[in-house]
Amino acid sequence: MRIPWVWIVLSLAVCSGCRATADVGRPASSVWFDERAHDSGLTFVHANGMSGRFYFHEIMGPGAALIDYDNDGDLDVFLVQGKGESRLYRNDLAVQPDGSRTLRFTDVTTQSGIRTTEYGMGVATGDFDNDGCVDLYLTNVGRNQLYRNNCDGTFSDVSRQSGTDGGLASPKLARDPSASGGGWSVSAAFVDYDRDGWLDLFVGHYVSYSVEKNTPCFSLSGRPDYCSPNAYRPEQNRLYHNNHDGTFTDVTTTAGLAGNFGPTLGVVADDFDGDGWVDLYVANDGRENQLWINQHDGTFRNAGLLSGTAVTVDARATGSMGVDAADVDGDGADDVLVTTLTGEGTSLFLRRGPAAFDDAGTRSGIRALSLGATGFGVHTLDADNDGRLDVLSVNGAVRTIESLALAGDRFPFSQRAHLLHNAGGGRFEDVSERAGPAFKLLDVGRGAAFGDIDNDGDTDVVVAGNNGPVRLLINEAGNRKHWVGLRLLTGVRSVRLKADDRPAEAGHYVRKCDAIGAHVEIIREGSPALVRRAATDGSYASASDPRVLAGLGDNSTPPSVRVMWPDGHVERWPAVPIDRYTTLEEGTGR
């Protein structure tokens, strides 16, 4: 049964006194993150179906999603499986009167109706039908799946009727069964690119590949190993326009995206030129990345090269995997972060003007600190809530690591995750060593989903490893500082009638959905304003918490908040409470 608006009530109730919890209910810990997957019931283990034949797809998944599918105010976890079925875990978070909390997850896959049928890669989340319940889009090797949330704890597979399952054939050749296999996609993003109040869908496709077409690949010395994407031709990305009736239309060609694509692994949607319209940044593996600038007419123009984000400053197309967009340098404009292969180093592109970025990977230290790892899932989070965005990446090689192979590791690709602390002044420092034992774990990191899983005011992480157990990194450091938490709800039109719907016009009903793509300016007394984005996209093959969580450091003055909604209009709220979550509804500000 769906419980309308319970989220807001619970979030306020659950989170009031969170700061007290951190101070009183939990002993001060020296570690930043504590790994608690198994203890909390997240017992999922990814199986890549490793054959010994180095099939390319084995090494690329999986992703994870944080999704409040039951609207009970806490983030549930969806974990993508390779060989086998993906799983949905309900978060049964319990908060004691003293503010201490117990995390417990229950596998609810069977009752949810989710039955994954293909080899899973990633997941995107968004309320595509505007019914107030978040839906799931699953990317696969093969046809993709769209699961509509029925708002009663169950999902329905609407892949085929929605038109988003990824068949690649044009209508002219649709009768050719070999031309409609769905392809291979990894990262996807729900994005309202035409500002019509309905989430459209971008799906990043990787390479033209199937097990039948597998190409054996070798190292220079002739040792069998996983392929690079160069062994295959890239596959065309897809943009689906939401028809407002539960179906989508493939507008890849008319949007101008058809003729230019690489092997895509990451995507993030954000306004990169400051015109208020959402653009798309697409990370390609070994080819130029793309910055698709929204032309406001349903089309996009690739400004990647001129923007400075297509390649590194020395013109190298890196093996780009994970991606995030956030205001890393605190200048009010979102920057771009891209994880890459070992020896390349993570790219940090700082925005210096409309669709113009400087490659600051070297200057910031991020590149040097990440040279030793192959980065996948990545996010800019304020791990210690000091008001500056840090960087957390999960890592895992794609070519055999000799030292691990020598030690008898049957899957010698594992690497440690990195936590890079924003030290200010545009520089980052590696704090992984003191971030907790979780950062000493060797995993083949791939997807990572970020969000406040225990609703205590700091950002936690679900790490989806390849061929290994899921990790749940609970942040123990953030809420020692002040913070402000926001859920942004925008009024949207829905086609689905619910008991509490307010009629808006014939056939449509106004509902409230997460304002994906909204920007928030948190105006602090005596400190620079913070700009944050409400989003679920980015990272790698994963979907994160759409709420905005901003660290305030030691500043205990309630900030005022300015929201730029996805349709471009702006509202203000004075003195938003700190150390708790507050829901801001579109139309209720000034």
């Binding site: 070798f218 031709r233 001129l306």
Partner: protein, 440 residues
């Protein structure tokens, strides 16, 4: 560690580091932890065995000098470096450096081993030691600068690049390095000047166009930036580096020869590429992909018959290899063996439905035979996926002419002429259409 590896390590420790009678003041050599070579190519295993044996012999020889021993370690290290075993290679070079501290090669190679294993701070120290042994070595100066730049140490990088430039003022690599230092400092004017200077010295240094574009963009000169972005781009090159060239030529494996062949093709040296690919196929005759590459290089160097043989061999090994079907189709079409060409192009698009080049070629051959009705869906498919492909637009319009649908063709030619002003075929075809002459 597997039993074999343990044995090898023990063997290496005993034979290399411990058992021979070392001079009293001999440095403490590190045992080599041998990588697992069980799955590498047999030819590489033989190379490794040979160098390992040579090392063992040298270390056990009472007549061997420190220099001999260092060289034996160094040769083994170079092979391991070429084979991408950076850790083991580093140990070899470390031992070589311990044995003959004055030889710049060993810290230099060690620096590269550290770079391969993403340890820039150690690489920097190694390159510094190499330069102490041989001041003025441009390659070492370049890599020291690059390694410092990797770590964000722009002042230190600039210092070594400036020293290098004083030695060779016409080095495009060094000028480019200095330009990158300027870019990292947001000194766009200086960066643009450096890059322009490098391009003036060597207009073929196309790797400079992109950073130059970034410099102009930083200066606000978007027109110049866009002009630079329209130029061809190639990967950056280092100064002439005989030591690393030696490593690059070392490995005797099919994949290594393939890599050299690909590099040769990038340099438009098809004859050399064919030589490399041929050696690769000798080492791995079962690789359809290698036969296809050899066929491509042969075709580009003018040997169509040899190319045909290689493509056919590729298809014998891998009947679904779309690239080989396409390549063979191209040769057959050029010999006007249309039916056979159609068969291969069809096989290519059946294997890979989004293989646009093959689909376009199939459509063109069908149209050339007057089978416009069969060609058109393929043109449409290409245009559906890639609306900017002028050849598909042109072929589609010409197919309309063949079918007598001249008004529709005119519309398509007009649209094509507007969309592709750089393709005079559209307006030519329109003229022919107006005069009633044959446009096909």
């Amino acid at each position: 560690m597997t039993p074999r590896q343990a044995v090898v390590v023990a063997f290496a420790s005993v034979a290399i580091g411990c058992s021979f009678k070392a001079p009293a003041a001999a440095p403490a050599l590190r045992p080599i932890v041998m990588p697992d070579l069980s799955s590498v190519a047999e030819s590489v295993r033989e190379q490794a065995r040979a160098r390992e044996s040579a090392l063992t012999r040298t270390m056990g020889s009472a007549q061997a000098t420190a220099s001999d021993r260092a060289a034996a370690y160094g040769e083994f290290g170079k092979l391991l470096l070429a084979a991408e075993y950076g850790d083991a290679a580093e140990t070899c070079f470390a031992n070589a450096e311990l044995l003959v501290p004055d030889d710049m090669r060993w810290p230099y190679y060690r620096g590269h081993a550290y770079r391969k294993t993403a340890q820039p701070a150690k690489a920097e120290a190694a390159f510094e030691r190499a330069l102490m042994r041989q001041p003025g070595n441009l390659a070492a100066m370049y890599w020291l600068g690059e390694t410092r730049l990797d770590q964000g140490r722009t002042d230190a990088a600039a210092s070594v690049f400036e020293q290098a430039l004083a030695i060779d003022p016409r080095s495009t690599s060094i000028l480019s390095g200095l330009g990158h230092v300027d870019l990292a400092r947001n000194d766009f004017a200086s960066a643009a000047a450096r890059f322009e200077q490098a391009l003036a010295i060597d207009p073929g240094a196309t790797f400079i166009h992109y950073p130059l574009a970034m410099a102009y963009r930083g200066l606000g000169n978007l027109a110049k930036a866009e002009a630079e972005l329209r130029q061809p781009r190639a990967p950056a090159t280092s100064p002439v580096d005989p030591l690393m060239q030696d490593v690059a030529r070392l490995l005797d494996s099919a994949m290594a020869y393939q890599s050299r062949g690909i590099d040769a093709l990038r340099r438009n040296d098809a004859a050399s590429a064919a030589g490399f690919f041929r050696r690769a196929t000798e080492l791995d005759p079962s690789s359809a992909s290698l036969h296809h590459r050899l066929g491509t290089a042969l075709f580009l160097s003018g040997d169509a018959s040899g190319a045909t043989r290689e493509f056919e061999e590729a298809l014998r090994l891998s009947p679904q290899l779309a690239r080989a079907h396409y390549s063979l189709g191209v040769i057959l079409a050029s010999r006007r063996r249309s039916a056979a060409a159609i068969a291969h192009f069809t096989a290519a698009v059946r294997a890979e439905p989004d293989y646009l080049e093959a689909r376009l070629a199939l459509a063109d051959v069908l149209r050339g035979l007057g089978r416009a009705r069969e060609a058109m869906p393929h043109y449409e498919e290409v245009l559906h996926r890639h609306p900017d492909v002028a050849d598909a637009e042109l072929g589609y319009a010409m197919s309309l002419v063949i079918l007598g649908r001249r008004d529709e063709a005119r519309v398509r030619f007009l649209a094509g002429a507007r969309q592709h002003p750089d393709r005079p075929e559209f307006s030519d075809a329109l003229s022919h259409l107006s005069t009633g002459s044959d446009t096909r």
